[in-house]
Assembly symmetry: C2
Homo-oligomer: 223 residues x 2
DNA sequence: ATATATTACTATGTATGCAAAATAGCACAA
DNA sequence: TTGTGCTATTTTGCATACATAGTAATATAT
């Protein structure tokens, strides 16, 4: 169980995503501040930052600090278009190797997600949601696909910073639910599974777009 | 025309991909040697290395140096599976905004690729091939898709190091040629375009698998 | 001659220091 | 008050120096 080694960079990533803003002026998140927070030097922090910058999650402006990318409606649509075809692919591959055990596991995650959401336990519901999708990825047997979708999930997560993270609770439930995904997978019909996944993600996308429109009006004028 | 700034990291990437090997023992490619070659310090080199390592192209072993990943047949299939659905997506989107001008441009790249390949001018044919595919990406209007496919192309390029790069010349031509892709795009039928692209890439994948099998036998036993 | 312990070396990981760029604050003049 | 130029400050970019881990080679004992 190797956990300690990798965890630092993961922690730094989480920390950054949760703390950065896209405002102008000076950012209170700097290489120095992150380094100080984790009691390391700037060097390892920089490596994480470069990674995030490369993935388009942050942008660093010299002598100003680190800022979140202000995603446009188009950006969100583009990224979700990519994520959709990749999760469809995963679902299609997953049906080939599905087992009763895994189906049971998926149902458990689906149940936990639903219950936690009902109780407004955002952290727990997100965690179970993540496990649900990652299990399907795992099932696809395609390690590269798994890795790349994980990256994309990191981007989409950053769309909705913690401060704005209310959208899930205020909305109706996703009509293309995890339960329906499980049912489709159980039929072992690739196209059916892909269809449900596609609609599932499409619903999430629309939800995020709505949320961004509600929250993001003020960011409009700024360059 | 900002070229100088970004070029260094691009050059470093090219240099690394062209020089690393997957052998055991000590590598002659080290942070130090790369830094010395480009007359910079290890710091900027490390940033590029971390990026490549993250993309799964290289692996760095402490006190041994930098090595290429030894891709298995399964890795190649996984990565090409991902690339295929993404290029299909690009083609489907591209037909929406295709114009006679772009079709002409694509035909030009197709012609140059073909001619250069006939003359065994590998560099030129690769360049034109890249432009062909990137033009379709551009046409899709999805910047994120464009970026992510570019990354994947970097990985697939690293499958076949320069030293082994003969496969293209020794084989029959791709039956799902660039010409046929252009024709399919011209019909503005998304499914048709995606179908040709899919087969085009599938042919390349099989070609690479064959080449790896011929060249890579010796890498088998090693961990 | 072979196996093992010790030592020197090599290359990465991390920290620190210095240079450059861009901003923000302040003084001063109109 | 408002605009302009200078200076100090902030923060990134790059370089260097030190710490650590893993390897290879040598020496020693059996």
């Amino acid at each position: 169980m190797r956990t300690k080694t990798k965890k630092l960079s993961e922690k730094i990533i989480t920390f950054i995503i949760e703390n950065i803003s896209g405002d102008d002026g000076r950012s209170d998140v700097t290489e120095e501040s992150i380094a100080a927070h984790f009691r390391v030097s700037r060097t390892p922090v920089r490596e994480v930052l470069k990674h995030l910058e490369h993935n388009g999650i942050i942008q660093t402006r010299r002598s100003k600090g680190i800022f979140s990318k202000n995603f446009t409606r188009e950006d969100v649509e583009n990224i979700y278009e990519v994520r959709t075809v990749l999760e469809e692919l995963a679902a299609k591959d997953a049906v080939k190797s599905i087992t009763p055990q895994v189906l049971k596991e998926l149902r458990t995650y689906a149940r936990i997600t639903k219950e936690a959401r009902k109780k407004r336990d955002r952290r727990k519901s997100n965690e179970a949601d993540r496990l649900f999708h990652e299990t399907i990825m795992e099932l696809s047997g395609n390690g590269y696909l798994k890795r790349i979708v994980k990256e994309i999930r990191m981007v989409t997560t950053s769309f909705i910073p913690a401060s704005k993270l209310f959208y899930l609770n205020n909305k109706d439930r996703n009509p293309y639910s995890h339960d329906k995904i499980v049912k489709a997978l159980a039929t072992r019909n690739p196209e059916a599974a892909a269809w449900v996944i596609k609609n599932h993600i499409c619903w999430i996308k629309n939800n995020i777009l709505e949320s961004l429109e509600k929250n993001g009006k003020r960011d409009q004028g700024k360059k």
